[in-house]
Symmetry: D2
Subunit: 182 residues, 4 copies
């Protein structure tokens, strides 16, 4: 399958970048083609309903999602909610004639230095995506205490956690293959 | 397919009973077998972690969900949230060794006399169900101003709304068939 | 001030009972009168809109809230949401002519053996209470890893956490005194 | 009292601008000083944790909130959630040493052409604001079917709705005065 993967963050050293890199590697090891994007590729202004032309960055994001069979996003938690940059992108996407996430499956994951691992933010991120018609995978992998979670080679210190990540990704892609073949 | 259908309410004259009855009829017209349950069949006490034996009503609810291929629940909104009786049942279900909703799809619908149609309650009901591992259909049908929405024969006054309900149910069952066949 | 305090749980050995006991002790040390209730005192059936007479347990809960100046509830997290027994009580309260929480302040706290400390459940508990008109204190104290958090005498092993609890309670009661005097 | 008021939207013809204008007029009629801001005054880039200097627009927003005694924001609902531009501003505010909304009261209102009036978005907007320590007024005024709700002079067609708005604002400011005087 072709999987679109990105972390909804601009900071270079973000733990969510590390996590999506690891997820991408694991999916590639399973034989999937992964389009791993830097969210900075989708540059767009703050949403303004008076701007009639959809910005290029939003169109590019829509194109990349549309061309993939599956979509995995790693999302940092800001203030118990989703990042403004992700919601801003959703606001542009939602205005398109053919909303690119409608009817597709998505899987959300998160990493955070906190004990909670960013899980509260994921629950807020689900809402606008489900509102646009996405089927969201229920088992959201959240990596807590991320500052000590990664080895230098990008794998996880705790092999049980890494196995859990692999399980979640495989289960998501299996269901998605069936979903897309309907 | 075999569909389990119920309204999470005890009141006899509830609009959510009317809505699930209509949904059951529509699914039967499409050739599906519907197990339409009265939530009063699942009598159980308030959840108490000290009670070691799972109550019969919770076991019966688990059995009925497990025996079906798909699950449609009509849920009234109480105080912008899900009904206590539904959350209480979820609390019992979640303690079982083999949580019956994990890995299954579910579709939530609602009816309400208000302009909002019970939609806020559905968003709160999703959370514990997704926590237990259910895949929830994104398009939640909410019937607003339900006091004037039904004809005497149980159909909807507005044929466009009834078509929308039929579309949502068919789309849900199509995806579920693919999901279950994986 | 007179403070109503309870844990929304029936299990005898619940960490939320331990936490509300500690909170009650701390408020008493500060000179407040605390009405510490066992939730089992508020026995009531599952909500049924056809029952016209409000159950005695719901009336008693309403009376106890109404007679206090402030209200602190410790709430376990079940399935990332509030307990069914609390939502069921809210469903009965919300039907009363004079909803007892409207215009009052409330403070929610939680304890859990998990790393998250029950915090996700508190965010779901806020919604129906705010819907009924309560002003909820923003800083919700959540005690993570509760199985190892308490000393035998009911105090917390970590003095910094206990100070945080005391701070939150004092700040809540200070604002509540001003709120009530308006 | 001095009230900061704004609509979290850039579109010129937004119903939320109309609603905050009306709210500002009503508060001025009651003798309050209102700092009515256009959200475009708070221009700032998409949040990037690598940018060390807080943008001028975020500093200006923080200053305006800090100088006021109370804060009323009208918030459009985008995809059942808060607008990206508001969340983006919150992300910048939350990183400041002295988070300007902590310990303050806020009142959220909304307008929308839909039957729901933007109310679902307000519930998502509460979360990051409460996370930062704001006390949010529980009664959130939502103006449904906003396309037909305003007279040419900016008042509401339905006098009962306008009375309700005035009641909510007065009640909020009364509690806030007590809150601030503690």
């Amino acid at each position: 399958m072709k999987v679109f993967a990105t972390a909804a963050v601009l900071r270079k050293g973000s733990f969510n970048r590390k996590l999506i890199n690891l997820a991408a590697n694991k999916m590639r090891e399973d034989g999937h083609e992964v389009d791993l994007a830097d969210f900075a590729e989708f540059d767009m202004p703050l949403y303004n309903g008076d701007i009639e032309k959809t910005p290029d960055g939003a169109l590019e994001l829509a194109r990349r999602i549309s061309e993939a069979d599956a979509c995995v996003i790693s999302i940092p938690e800001y203030n118990y909610s989703l990042p403004g940059i992700l919601k801003n992108a959703i606001d542009w996407l939602s205005r398109m004639d053919d909303v690119p996430v409608a009817g597709r499956t998505m899987s959300l994951i998160s990493a955070s230095p906190s004990l909670v691992g960013g899980n509260r933010g994921l629950w807020q991120a689900r809402i606008p995506l489900e509102c646009m018609g996405a089927w969201l995978y229920p088992g959201m992998f959240s990596l807590a205490m991320a500052a000590k979670a990664f080895n230098d080679d990008g794998t996880l210190v705790d092999p049980a956690l890494e196995e859990r990540l692999v399980y979640v990704l495989r289960d998501y892609l299996t269901v998605t293959a069936a979903h897309n073949a309907r």
